[in-house]
């Protein structure tokens, strides 16, 4: 068993942000184990992606360029990674815990009979094993988890690791054939509607969220204005979503998105435990609430007791001056 592999999700010639983060975690693992780091590049027309992978500092690239791999389907990529792993016996396979990364990791771990650890927020090498720290029980507790099988499969939570930086390195990839042909793949993609223009909550480095305290759909205007000024994303509590003031895709919390920005500003949010489960790993939390006893202040580094309709516009004005 040797070698650390990292799956590089790519789209339109670019390596996904989550995968760039996975590269830096994988680098820590590879160096700790004293093993080579290999990037996995699959798609259609992906020679440029292989170059980009070398630039991010991987030692080798294992790739496949085929029409069946163009739009990610786990039924095409899963068997290929399993086959390659059976041939090369890597000790660790890592991927970002994106929707596609999760599917792939679960598929490959099942077929290799390997231990799988999802949603790592920290990795450290301990002997020949990787210790993965992951939130459990809805983010209320943490666990240090080990996969005890000879191949360890790990996915990594978005924004838990820094993105790998360009190194200027280059190299030549090893190209292999796809593992399954189109007629052996039952699933056909009949449509795809991309989300564009908006900052995705899970990728955002700044989030400004509003809760029941905004009082209605119009109440989100000052929240959004501050988010836009800071180049951040707009979040919400479930109370605001359930009231129909803002779509569910903005909900942060146990039954919404789990986010981990550098800065999380909560306005008119009390800080219920289910909301906390989605944002407590934010680097800096700022709470704005008219009730000095609101539980959100127990979690925050900075707090302002006051009316959000006065505080948010004042903050927006201040940042407009300085940014």
């Amino acid at each position: 068993m040797s070698g650390v592999w990292v799956f590089l999700e790519n789209k339109e010639g670019k390596i996904a942000t989550g995968s760039r983060e996975a590269v830096s975690a994988a680098r820590t693992v590879a160096d700790g184990l004293g093993q080579e780091l290999t990037g996995l590049v699959f798609g259609e027309g992906v020679s440029g992606v292989a170059d980009a992978a070398f630039d991010l500092g991987v030692d080798a690239v294992l790739g496949a360029d085929d029409a069946t791999l163009g739009h990610f389907r786990v039924e095409a990529v899963g068997p290929l990674v399993t086959k390659l792993a059976q041939e090369h016996n890597p000790s660790v396979i890592l991927a970002s815990a994106s929707s596609r990364g999760r599917d792939l990791a679960a598929w490959v771990a099942a077929d290799l009979d390997a231990g799988l650890v999802s949603d790592g927020v920290d990795v450290a090498v301990d002997g020949d094993k990787v210790k993965v720290t992951r939130p459990v029980y809805a983010g209320k507790l943490l666990s240090d988890v080990f996969a005890t099988s000879s191949t360890q499969v790990i996915t990594l939570r978005n924004r838990a690791f820094p993105q790998a930086e360009p190194t200027g390195k280059s190299g030549s990839a090893t190209w292999v054939d796809a593992a399954v042909s189109e007629d052996a793949i039952p699933t056909k993609i009949v449509g795809f509607e991309g989300k564009e223009g908006t900052v995705s909550l899970t990728d955002a480095s700044i989030i400004v969220s509003g809760g029941r305290g905004v009082g209605g759909p119009e109440g989100f205007a000052p929240v959004k204005e501050l988010a836009d000024t800071l180049g951040g994303a707009l979040g919400a509590s479930r109370a605001a979503v359930d009231a129909g003031w803002i779509p569910y895709e903005h909900q942060v919390g146990q039954t919404g998105k789990v986010v981990s920005p550098d800065l999380y500003i909560a306005a008119g949010i009390s800080g219920a435990i289910q909301h906390q489960a989605g944002m407590r790993t934010s680097k800096i939390i700022v709470a704005i609430n008219k009730d000095a006893d609101a539980p959100i202040f127990k979690l925050a580094q900075y707090g302002i007791v006051g009316d959000l309709f006065k505080v948010l516009p004042a903050l927006t004005a201040e940042f407009k001056k300085r940014l």
């Binding site: 789209k11 786990v74 039924e75 929707s99 596609r100 999760r102 599917d103 990791a105 679960a106 598929w107 099942a110 077929d111 009979d113 231990g115 799988l116 999802s118 949603d119 992951r134 939130p135 459990v136 029980y137 809805a138 507790l141 943490l142 666990s143 240090d144 080990f146 039952p186 699933t187 056909k188 993609i189 009949v190 449509g191 795809f192 509607e193 991309g194 480095s205 800071l230 569910y248 039954t255 800065l263 435990i273 289910q274 407590r280 680097k283 800096i284 939390i285 700022v286 580094q301 900075y302 707090g303 302002i304 007791v305 006051g306 505080v311 004042a314 903050l315 201040e318 940042f319 940014l323």
Partner: protein
Amino acid sequence: MKVVVSIKQTPSTTAVLTVNGGVVSWDDPGGKPNVLNPWDEYTVEEGVRLKENHGATDVIALTVGPEESQDALKTSLAMGCTEAILVSDPALQGLDSLGTARTLAAAINKMGDVQVAIFGRQAIDGDTGQTPVQVARKLGWTPLTFVSAIKEIGGGKITVERLLDDGKETVTTSLPVVISTVKEINEPRYPSLMGIRKANRAEIPVWSAADLGLADGAGSSNVDWSNVYAIPPRGGSVQMIEGDSVEAQAKTLADKLFEEKVI
């Protein structure tokens, strides 16, 4: 058409957890400490809708867990499942997701002729979200994860909409399938009073490992999660920003945030 809804009983979302030497226990002073995994409310609802709208004949709730997990199965029955099966055996304790998946696949095979197995997005205790795809692999069925709508089903085919990080994907594939659901898929109903009364009287069959041909257990676990601990408290206490005016408060807060280098 036979449908399985695979569910788990978990601590309630408001449960207060304590860890003592790696052992986790919980209580919910305000309510029931154990509930049907909140994500599985969508699982059950979607199964029941396949019965109501697409002619599914059986909607079987299935769980692997301790005796107490009967409660979550009863909630599923009260919501409209036609049957419930509990797989419970000391030999099946402490399984990793793949062991759980092997067990669930064996139970689904034993039921015979299942066309759709519906799962939740994740269970709020183990929190891995790994089980559905692994069950699909053990059954040799197509996994369809993060499903936000079943568009069409019938004639051996299914078309679904999936909600991925970067957009909405529509796919068509052949049955049988394993589906994992997301919140957008439906609005779970509350169990009816009649349903609850009926569910309370239900005798839920219990299958052992041997019943599933897993007498030697479901294979060894490949994951060690014995080290569970409380999250270290967030650094220090809150610093309240005071000031003569909101403008002054805004300025002080902005200074702090620039100092923290988060802007």
